[in-house]
Each structure stands twice: as structure tokens, then as C-alpha cells.
Assembly symmetry: C2
Homo-oligomer: 213 residues x 2
């Protein structure tokens, strides 16, 4: 692996483990056993590293959110699509756990993150619309708007909320819980013939997390 | 008003306006036209002021959350109960907009805030249980738990989310929108005979915000 990529990977690990404000570029260089000068050759300080980490995260999540999602009609397709969204967030948990602070310090990231949040709302609507047309979900425009905002909020603040609620579940279980929470927002809008969709989701949750609880 | 109370009031106004990290005790003393020494006589620095502001907020919101709420059966009772919860949050918006940062810097506040968040979940359950017993809401225990967490999340991250979504609505409208968002989480769990509850809420929202939009 190139030194540049090793620096990014180690920074992400240390940020997630120690919290971004508690990690210096010297800590990162020490962990990699390289000189601070060598690190500085690749990145002009921590701001530069965080900018690069955010760019990669933004592009990955943005790709996932804009992927063709018109085929989500089976519970396990929907489940794993959401799982990937939450997993991306979890990999970048230092960022979400310090959200206000990082956005205040890095205006360029704030601007892009606002667009990503808008994209989450749009993606939720894009998944729901064909389901409304097929009679799977019953939602008028106002309800669809509010549900999409609630889903985007859940996806965005899930980790901070879990931290405050002292949820110390292992990674995979925490992610499945996040997915179930989103499904629970959507479920009551299923029309009568499709209620089993949510029951199947609950069964899926139980089987996927049986080894983790 | 006593100097101590004037200091607290002015600090809260400046924190809400400028953001807490951008306000120093000297700024507060200047705004009040008192000497920094006089301020220091009342509070041993900004940490002390924030601690006191948080205590007052915590006690007020805690009182509201533990108030007798078994009588909430009419839409406007429910609406104004939630309105008061959101209004308390709005008054303390500097705190919510900088949540992770403040909690990391003040461990004593973090501990109390975790308890307040747990109290929000309990309050949501306490409101819902009698409604389930009367057949107004249809929820099993698992669904009740997840709905209560979703409501607590909405109440907690509403302001941060709105800020990121660039919602610049005037205060009252923003609070009513927050209330409608919570009602929209609860509404789909209403049993058939009580669906009009949500329609009445939407009408209430329209009439309450007609002058504000």
C-alpha cells in the first residue's frame, strides 16, 4: 500500500478509536513509524487528512445513494441496501460523533455534507415513489416528505444517538438495529396486502443477529 | 433582576446568537457593561455559567417530561404539550447545535443529559401506553420501544438537523414543524377509528402557522 493510503487508513482508525480532537499528526506518524516530515510531505496537516477522508466517504456514500434502487421490493434487498448505507456511516464514525464541531471547523466539508444530507432525503423519496405507485405504501406528498426527512435524520444521527443512549452493541448488531429502526418508520405506511413485508424484516433481523446478541 | 440572573440571561442570548465557542466571559461582561472582575465574582468562568444554564434547562425540561400526561387525548392538548418541549429546546439552541462538543468538554453535563434523553424515551412511552390500552394506538412492545426512541431522537436532533437542512423559518414555525414531524411518526399507528386525530393535527398546524408562512 502507498504511504499516502497508509496515512489515511491509520488516521481513520485512530480518529475512530480516540476521537478526532485527541489525535495529532505526530500521533499518526508515530503509529505508522514514519517521521512527521514524511507525513507532512503527503499531507499539509490534519485538516488536509480530514478533507481527503471526507472526500472518499462522500463519494462512496453518494454512489450508493444514487445507485439504481428501483428494484427494492423484497425485504432482504431493502435490508442490505440500508445495511450498506449504515456501514459506510459506521466506518466514518469519528466524523458523525463529532459532527457539529468538525463542520464548524471545516466549512468546505459542511457545504458538501449539506448536499449529502439532501441526497439522503432524495434517495428515500426515490425508493418510496415506485412503491406508492404499486400500492405497497400509502403516503400522500406531505407524508412522503416528512417520512423521508425522518429516515434521513435516523441515518445521520443514529450513531450519536446510540452513543448517548449508551448502546455498546458490537458493530454488526448496532448496524442491524439502525436498519430495523428505519424499517419501523416505514412499516406502518405499508398497505394491508403488504404488511408481511415488515414481519419478514423482523424475522430477518432475528436471524441476522441471532449470533450477535 | 439580580446581577447573577442578568449574567445568565445575557450569556444565553449571546451563546444562541454567536455560538458558544465564539463567546468569551469578557464579551459577556462587555455586553452587560460590568467589569470582568464583577462577572468573576458571580461565576468562576464560562464553564460555571454553562453548568448553571444547563441545570436550569435540565430541571425545567425534566419537570415538563414528568408532568401528568395521562389526559392527552385531544389533538390540541398533545400539540401544545409537544410545543412546550420543543420550545424549551429552542431556548437552549446553542447547546443542541454544539452538542457533541459541549458534552465532550463538560462530563458532568454529559452524565445529566444522558439521563434527560432516557427520560424523553420514558415520557414518550408514558404518553403512548394509556392510548394503546384505550385502543387509540396499535403497537406491540417492540414497536412502542422503537417509536419512543424515534420520537426522542426527533426531539433531540431536530434543531441540528434543521440547521443542516438550511431551514430558516421563524422560531414559531420551526417549532410547529418539529411538532408535526413527531405527530407524523405517531400517526400511522392510530387505529382506524382514530385516524381523524392526525387530520385534526394537520388542520391545527395549518391554522397555527397561517400567519407565519
Amino acid at each position: 500500500m502507498k504511504t499516502r493510503d497508509r496515512i489515511l487508513q491509520t488516521s481513520l482508525e485512530l480518529f475512530n478509536l480516540e476521537g478526532e480532537p485527541n489525535v495529532t499528526t505526530v500521533d499518526i506518524a508515530n503509529e505508522l513509524d514514519i517521521s512527521p516530515g514524511n507525513l507532512y510531505y503527503h499531507f499539509k496537516g490534519k485538516e488536509d487528512i480530514i478533507g481527503d477522508l471526507y472526500d472518499r466517504f462522500h463519494n462512496e456514500l453518494s454512489d450508493i445513494l444514487s445507485a439504481p434502487i428501483s428494484q427494492i421490493l423484497k425485504p432482504d434487498d431493502a435490508w442490505f441496501y440500508l445495511y450498506i448505507v449504515f456501514e459506510e456511516t459506521y466506518k466514518q464514525r469519528y466524523f458523525y460523533r463529532n459532527l457539529n464541531d468538525i463542520l464548524q471547523r471545516y466549512p468546505a466539508i459542511e457545504k458538501r455534507f449539506r448536499r449529502l444530507l439532501a441526497q439522503k432525503v432524495t434517495a428515500a423519496q426515490a425508493v418510496a415513489r415506485p412503491l406508492i405507485e404499486r400500492g405497497v405504501l400509502a403516503l400522500d406528498e406531505g407524508q412522503l416528505g416528512r417520512l423521508s426527512e425522518a429516515v434521513a435524520m435516523q441515518v445521520t444521527f443514529w450513531l450519536t444517538y446510540d452513543l448517548l443512549r449508551n448502546n455498546k452493541a458490537p458493530e454488526q448488531l448496532q448496524i442491524h438495529q439502525g436498519v430495523l429502526q428505519v424499517m419501523s418508520l416505514i412499516a406502518p405506511h405499508l398497505t394491508e396486502n403488504y404488511r408481511s413485508f415488515y414481519d419478514d424484516c423482523c424475522k430477518l433481523f432475528d436471524s441476522l443477529t441471532a449470533d450477535l446478541i
